[in-house]
Symmetry: none
Subunit: 202 residues, 4 copies
């Protein structure tokens, strides 16, 4: 994938393998423990042993799913940063837009990625949390850079960065594709809110 090619804005209908896509929906609706292997198999259009042909266990399906989700988001974020200029304001806007779009068009991914972290084995959780932390660091770096060179006025860059992330993730909890505002308009407005966070003063 070439840097800056802009594919980080594209969200096609299906991007996950059938097994993971079905698992995603099942986990979103009923949670990891509430979804049975039989249901995952049915949603994937496979038999139960067929499902075990692809994954060694139910836990492995969750691990593969969260890994795919976070890897995709991370890839989009680095692409977004690579597709823009050097100035902190530009980089901030690109990153925030990327996060907003993902949490608008992948609400289930986002919900499962946070609500089912606890259902991962410690070893698996460690890996996934690492990906999530890497994401947060991308934003932290941009905000700190901007705060350092005076682009952003906030006296609390760390808290602001976390607040911006929270704002973006929170979109997933209320966004509906049939809402009154277009995605582009929503992105624009929330970019304004995000800029407000990094430009507050005591």
């Amino acid at each position: 994938m070439a840097a800056g090619d802009g594919t980080w804005r594209e969200y096609d209908a299906v991007e996950l393998p059938r097994v993971l896509q079905g698992a995603l929906e099942a986990f979103a609706e009923q949670g990891y423990h509430g979804a049975s292997i039989r249901e995952l198999a049915a949603r994937a259009g496979l038999s139960v042993p067929g499902l075990y042909h692809h994954h060694a266990s139910k836990q492995d399906i969750l691990r593969a799913l969260l890994d795919a989700v976070l890897t995709d988001l991370l890839r989009r974020c680095t692409d977004a940063l690579a597709s823009t200029g050097d100035h902190p304001a530009e980089r901030f806007d690109a990153l925030v837009e990327c996060l907003l779009r993902f949490h608008m068009f992948r609400t289930e991914h986002a919900f499962v990625a946070t609500s089912e972290l606890r259902s991962l084995t410690p070893a698996n959780r460690e890996h996934v949390v690492g990906l999530r932390d890497a994401l947060q660091h991308l934003l932290d770096d941009v905000v700190e850079e901007g705060a350092a060179d005076g682009t952003f006025t906030t006296p609390y860059p760390k808290a602001a960065s976390r607040g911006v992330a929270t704002l973006c993730l929170g979109v997933a909890s209320w966004y509906r594709p049939d809402g009154p505002l277009s995605p582009d308009e929503l992105v624009r407005r929330h970019l304004t809110l995000a800029r407000g966070i990094v430009n507050g003063r005591d």
Copy 2:
């Protein structure tokens, strides 16, 4: 409860009945479907039939828990509003502080109240979602009022209100009591961020 008595700032160690307190911890760690009735009973210090003496079903425990959590939060918020002056800025600050404190000192409550909404029966969910909506309306009203009289400059009061709520709820996902900053300092800083959201400009 007298208006403005300030109890909305107090967070004692235990406020829930033993059964619900145990259920809260279990649901937070393992999710509704991942926590067994046996475990809920053990955490409550009861035998399994003893637990059924108090609640008709596992679902009833979840319903009672979410009801207690949201009713408590709602009570604190109305108390907070009753304890301050009439100006939108004051009311905004009181409400945001109340939400921040709750999501700092009751992180598990907050997590379970959102992650296990899906595990409620439709009828039960309707009731709990009603409480949640009432909360959001409290904030919406204050922000709209302040936007109308020029206290806040945001051109998007509805989005800003939702953004502030998201910011406050999001605190629950990262706050740790042993962090470097005191709760009061954290409240102060995030109040700044929240004011930034309602005071942004296009």
Copy 3:
């Protein structure tokens, strides 16, 4: 109860203590194992410990019920025999009429008395089966007597006696109080059928 006083034809609405009456209905509808102590208590208008005040156990309720049912039937049959003349034909008619009426007006009693024999403790079953055998003996004696003196022509008095009993008990399995024929007419017709059984020839 004076001999021959004719009370064996009378069937009032309630004759059993409240506990046993409720148990009778519950056992008829759901069987001994299908009816819970809580349901028996509710039907009796008692609390659960209140029910245990009257009976030591669920098994004891079944025992008391079957004892009451069979004792009542046995009393009615001996009354019927005491209220008529000496001739085998008269005695046969009285006994058959008595059995028919009981199985018409006490269908639930009859059903439970046979279907729940198996649910009795061996010791209790022995007692109740003794009562049932005593009943069959009353009929056996009358039929044998009539066969011996030529009143009945059947070559198989034992089989015939059992067949008559079966005919009478079977009434309980289809009789409905709102059927087209009056109880008296049904008694008359089945008396005719019973006489046919003891008057058959090879």
Copy 4:
């Protein structure tokens, strides 16, 4: 199955699938509610989930059992009628013999089929009662035909038909294979009793 092939007189040791055979014995001894799924599984030589692989629920086992029992009896009865001549006396004898043999060699089937009707779901009960009614109709038709053409003298064909059925079913409640009389002799004698029922006079 060819008409009149006489297989309706044959009773081999086992005719039911293992699961239903075990369920039959358990239900006969302890009733539907008194027999546990664990016991049904043990009697079938299966584990509990193994049993659920074949039947969806305990209720489904009861339904399948009663269906198999009544279908078998109905098949035997129609075979018996097909294997004899046209005269009502012949047809009556064949049907009564068939009913007698079934209730002698399949006492448990007969007992469970009547005592556990109440344990069926309404929908399932409707189906099974339909089969039972079809059986009674076979006998009703033969008796009415014989009463119409003067073969039988009874003035109450409907009551007589029901009485004959009761007599045959009742055999199941006392027949023991180790009794003093051979099955053939018992059939002969009870055929005599049955003929007495349809040939009584007022």
